[in-house]
């Protein structure tokens, strides 16, 4: 009861402490939760420690590459050759964000994968309806996740659904399985199409030992077996099935390794880096709030010390003081947590958008519950023990003697840490913002400023051509082309051979087919030779990137590429290089495809996945989409989107991180400034007589302000410099994930340091102005 009463105790600023702690805890808990969530991937099911991802390890021209997919025959091969393998399975994605359509024309965008019938032998996900073995063995059968089944109408067993559009390719739903949790590498498996259906979709590489390595392969090992125990059997499998001699001639070494599934995401360098950075941000924010709490406690210590002395006079020992202060801190913490919960509830949508994860899922994880409780315990210990220690160490007699010891060093240290924390986050925000701006304004090697793109999967070849022809007629449209590949995605790989030479020269990114005017529409400069012209698809011609030419100069001693013939493994026979185009970015800055690229010409719209439109200005987009809507009446999801929007979408992680750091920075700065205001209020009260005497003796308001500014500057300047230095260090780690990094100019750091210092000094001016400007007699009278 008394603890609750003490909440409104004068001079203790308890509600400010609670609000600051709540804000710090709310942001900290989200960050801790997100970091914990990233570390929880694929370790939640009973056999997760025995499931391994099968990976390929390539050495080509002395360069090692680790690839987490394999050819189709590897997973079943491992099961056959290795008695330690209890079960093996494989799957391969083939469509992302494509509609699944019911007979009633209900459409839900989802992801599709071809999955073999052993999937549920390896992964213990619950099958809710149907026989998974049967469903995944029969052609044109599929299984769907529970949530998808609900979206499709609930009772879906045995129902016919269509891929992309009603009346198109039909699949029978033969089973429903429990949703795969979000913290799983397999989460995107929403429609499992039976593996035998592959012949209707793509090249059937199920029996391939090398090449067409698009399969995600998994094995479940027997208890007590390690990945290394399989090495002799894997070697035997390789000797008996792989064309090792041919590979050797081609300069290639291929091996297989097993990576624990539970470590696949958690040990990924990007995940570890992000977990580390999120943890630092959480510590900084919670630390800031805790330091603010202590600062306010120390600020009100003279008054409180007297109260504690009274308790001591009447028999309270150290134990009683600790118990009293700890219980107060516990109440403050509970109230802070309640307030933090409210904040999380009100900002749930924003938090989920920023973390990309449902808030409840983050908070429900066992490991996160433990971490959050541990954090609360540490906060309680610090906010309870430190003040208790201070109170028990103030002599009773001293407390009654108008205790005015300032604890200035402590206060300055706490303030300094808060300033450093705020500066750290603000400088980090500047770096993140700079990198983000660089990424979304990235020089990709092509001009996407007034470009639109439309994915045309599910649209017939005839319709595609009609759309192209009609769009070309629009006055707002400068040019239209088609392509197989989207340059912002990772590309399929192909190997390059030269005529009458079985040496494999390099693996390239194959853009496959492009249509008329592709280079003009995208604004990709052709640096030698010529572009494709109509009719050349019958002339076996190919264009290559500048990097291709440069690599072949090194590898094959070419002087120039134009006129040379090459064999690309996805295409039969030899093709002649007719032109070299400037390098373009493939993939994104975060996930770049650094390989050289090639492309082939085709007039056949059936081969294309994208229509690309160059507008005079993007104002023409609406009109163009109207044309598309009128022509493609059976597929309402088809639309042209600004290319720029797609580029921005590539960097949504960086955008989210920028907003997270921004929120953190603002929170830290506000908390630090509240701490500063509290400190100043305490100092004003403590030094009001001194100020008055100074004024009586001729000091002007500005002299008094200068006195306090100089005081704060002594701690603020080193603190912001330390904060900026720490930010520089963390920013460098964060930037490691990008293939192209923004620079870290000293001027930016200097500007941030000066800006934070200016804010601090402004607050000092505002906080001290009243006392500095008031009549000194008032304060001398009080004395």
């Amino acid at each position: 009861m008394n603890v609750l009463k003490s909440l409104n105790q004068r001079g203790q600023h308890n509600w400010i402490k609670i609000v600051c702690l709540a804000v710090g805890l709310a942001t900290g808990i989200v960050l801790i939760g997100k970091a914990g969530f990233e570390q929880s991937w694929d370790n939640f099911f009973p056999t997760s420690d025995r499931i391994y991802v099968v990976c390929e390890d390539w050495v080509l021209e002395g360069e090692y590459k680790h690839y987490p997919k394999t050819a189709g025959a590897i997973a079943p091969g491992l099961e056959r050759y290795c008695p330690q393998v209890e079960a093996a399975t494989r799957y391969t994605d083939f469509a992302w964000d494509m509609p699944i359509v019911t007979e009633e024309d209900k459409r839900v965008c989802t992801n599709y994968a071809l999955v073999d019938s052993c999937f549920f032998d390896v992964f213990p996900f619950r099958v809710l309806a149907g026989d998974s073995k049967q469903a995944l063995s029969r052609v044109d059968y599929c299984m769907v996740s529970r949530s998808l089944a609900e979206k499709l109408g609930g009772d879906v067993m045995g129902r016919i659904v269509f891929f992309n559009k009603r009346g198109g390719w039909a699949l029978t739903i033969g089973g429903v399985y429990e949703d795969i949790p979000l913290n799983s590498k397999l989460h995107n498996l929403q429609v499992m199409v039976s593996m035998p259906t592959i012949t209707k979709i793509t090249f059937d590489g199920r029996e391939n030992w090398v090449g067409n390595d698009r399969y995600e392969s998994y094995v479940r090992l027997a208890k007590g077996v390690g990945a290394d125990d399989l090495k002799p059997q894997i070697e035997k499998m390789k000797q008996e099935n792989l064309p090792l001699e041919d590979l050797k001639k081609a300069g290639v070494e291929l091996d297989f390794s097993l990576q624990p599934l539970a470590e696949f995401h958690t040990h990924d360098e990007d995940t570890r880096r992000m977990t580390w950075i999120l943890s630092i941000l959480a510590v900084v924010l919670i630390g800031c709030a805790v330091m603010n709490y202590l600062l306010l406690v120390i600020g009100g210590i003279s008054r409180r010390a007297r109260e504690m002395a009274v308790h001591k006079c009447y028999g309270a020992g150290s134990y009683h003081i600790y118990r009293k202060v700890m219980s107060e801190s516990a109440v403050h913490l509970v109230l802070s947590l309640a307030l933090a919960s409210l904040l999380l509830f009100f900002f749930k949508d924003t938090i989920e958008e920023l973390t990309g994860t449902p808030l409840l899922l983050i908070l429900k994880l066992d490991s996160n519950v433990f971490m959050i409780l541990l954090t609360c315990l540490v906060v309680l210990l610090i906010t309870g023990m430190v003040p208790s220690w201070i109170y028990t160490h103030i002599p009773v007699a001293a407390a009654f003697k108008n205790y005015t010891q300032s604890h200035r060093i402590w206060k300055m240290m706490l303030l300094g840490l808060q300033f450093a924390s705020a500066t750290f986050l603000i400088v980090l925000l500047m770096v993140v913002g700079r990198q983000y701006r660089m990424m979304i304004n990235d020089d990709t090697g092509y001009d996407y400023s007034s470009l639109g793109i439309m994915k045309v999967d599910g649209v017939s070849g005839g319709q595609r051509q009609l759309v192209v022809d009609e769009l070309r007629k629009l006055s707002a449209v400068k040019g239209v082309t088609m392509s197989y590949a989207n340059l912002t995605e990772g590309q399929s790989g192909d190997n390059i051979y030269l005529p009458e030479d079985d040496h494999e020269y390099m693996n390239i990114a194959d853009l496959f087919y492009v249509g008329d005017g592709y280079f003009d529409v995208l604004g990709i400069p052709v640096i030698s030779g010529q572009t494709f012209t109509e009719q050349t698809d019958t002339l076996r011609e190919v264009m290559v990137s500048r990097k291709f030419e440069e690599r072949m100069r090194e590898l094959a001693g070419w002087d120039q590429a134009v006129g040379k013939q090459i064999h690309c493994t996805s295409f039969d026979g030899l093709y002649t290089i007719v032109g070299v185009y400037e390098n373009t970015r493939l993939g994104s800055i975060t996930h770049p495809d650094p390989r050289a690229s090639v492309c082939f010409y085709s007039q056949n719209a059936d081969y294309m996945h994208y229509i690309i439109i160059r507008f005079h200005t993007m104002d023409g987009l609406k009109e163009a989409n109207q044309v598309v809507k009128e022509l493609v009446t059976d597929n309402p999801d088809i639309a042209i989107i600004p290319y720029n929007q797609m580029i921005i979408g590539l960097y949504s992680d960086a955008r989210r991180f920028r907003i997270t750091v921004m929120i953190g920075g603002v929170v830290a700065l506000i908390i630090a400034l509240i701490g500063l205001i509290g400190y100043l209020a305490g100092e004003m009260a403590r030094r009001q007589k001194e100020i008055a005497i100074r004024k009586v003796n001729g000091a002007r308001t500005r002299d008094v302000l200068y006195l306090f500014q100089a005081d704060i500057l002594k701690v603020a300047l080193p603190a912001v410099l330390i904060g900026a230095l720490c930010a520089w260090y963390v920013a460098r780690i964060w930037l490691e994930q990008f293939s192209e990094k923004s620079s870290l100019p000293p001027l930016m750091f200097l500007v941030c340091v000066l800006a934070v210092t200016a804010i601090i000094l402004s607050v000092v001016c505002i906080g001290c102005y009243r006392v500095s400007n008031s009549n000194p007699v008032n304060y001398l009278k009080n004395e």
Partner: protein, 224 residues
């Protein structure tokens, strides 16, 4: 009951050394009422702090009920103090967040007295101090005289052997001051030893013995 032998108290800062008490020796018998007088800065309050085990002397010995208590640690001093010594301060030192009843109850809480008994004892002492009607008021809602009575109630509620009063009438008008002194005299007559620091000759008149301090030293004792 109290015996001080050559007590010295020196306060040291980096630059200055101040001798607050320079070899004070005195004895206070059980049931005595002693007043300590002297000018400001003569060491009265320092002496009272040492007597009340709020502070340790720099040197010398202090016997309380025959036990040397001058070298005790804070936690040991708390133990000895608990239930034995009641304090009455010039500025009352009531806790603003606690009401009258809770302020008076405070020492009993630390003595571990059961709730029921605490309530009864608090009620009794408040009645004795004639402030029962203010039991649920907070200190700010009371007059200065009432606050001092609460402070005395808090000092006596645990039936201490000694009451140490520091300028108990310092903040009072003459009527209230008289009431306070009558209360202390009554407590003394009931057997409680009272040591009081005062500036007031009139208040000192209530004491059986006056100890005069000057510059940290006792000047000749006057028997009344």
């Amino acid at each position: 009951m109290i015996k001080l032998e050559n007590i010295q108290k020196v306060f040291r800062t980096e630059e200055v050394e101040t001798v607050a008490l320079g070899g004070v020796s005195l004895e206070v018998q059980k049931g005595e009422f002693v007043a300590i007088m002297g000018p400001s800065g003569c060491g009265k309050s320092t002496l009272l702090n040492i007597l009340g085990l709020l502070d340790n002397p720099t040197s010398g010995t202090y016997y309380l009920d025959g036990e040397e208590v001058g070298r005790l640690k804070e936690s040991q001093r708390t133990k000895v103090r608990k239930g034995q010594i009641g304090f009455v301060f010039q500025s009352f030192n009531l806790i603003d967040e606690l009401n009258v009843e809770e302020n008076v109850e405070l020492p009993l809480t630390y003595l571990g007295v059961p709730k029921k008994e605490r309530k009864a004892r608090v009620e009794e002492v408040l009645r004795r101090m004639a402030i029962s009607h203010r039991a649920h008021h907070f200190p700010q809602q009371l007059s200065g005289g009432q606050q001092q009575r609460v402070a005395i109630a808090r000092a006596v509620v645990m039936n201490p052997k000694i009451i140490l009063a520091d300028e108990p009438t310092g903040n009072r008008d003459s009527k209230n001051g008289l009431e306070v002194m009558q209360l202390l005299t009554q407590l003394n007559q009931e057997g409680t030893t009272v040591v009081m620091v005062t500036h007031s000759e009139r208040d000192a008149g209530y004491a059986q013995r006056v100890i005069n301090l000057l510059d940290g030293q006792i000047v000749p004792e006057v028997s009344l």
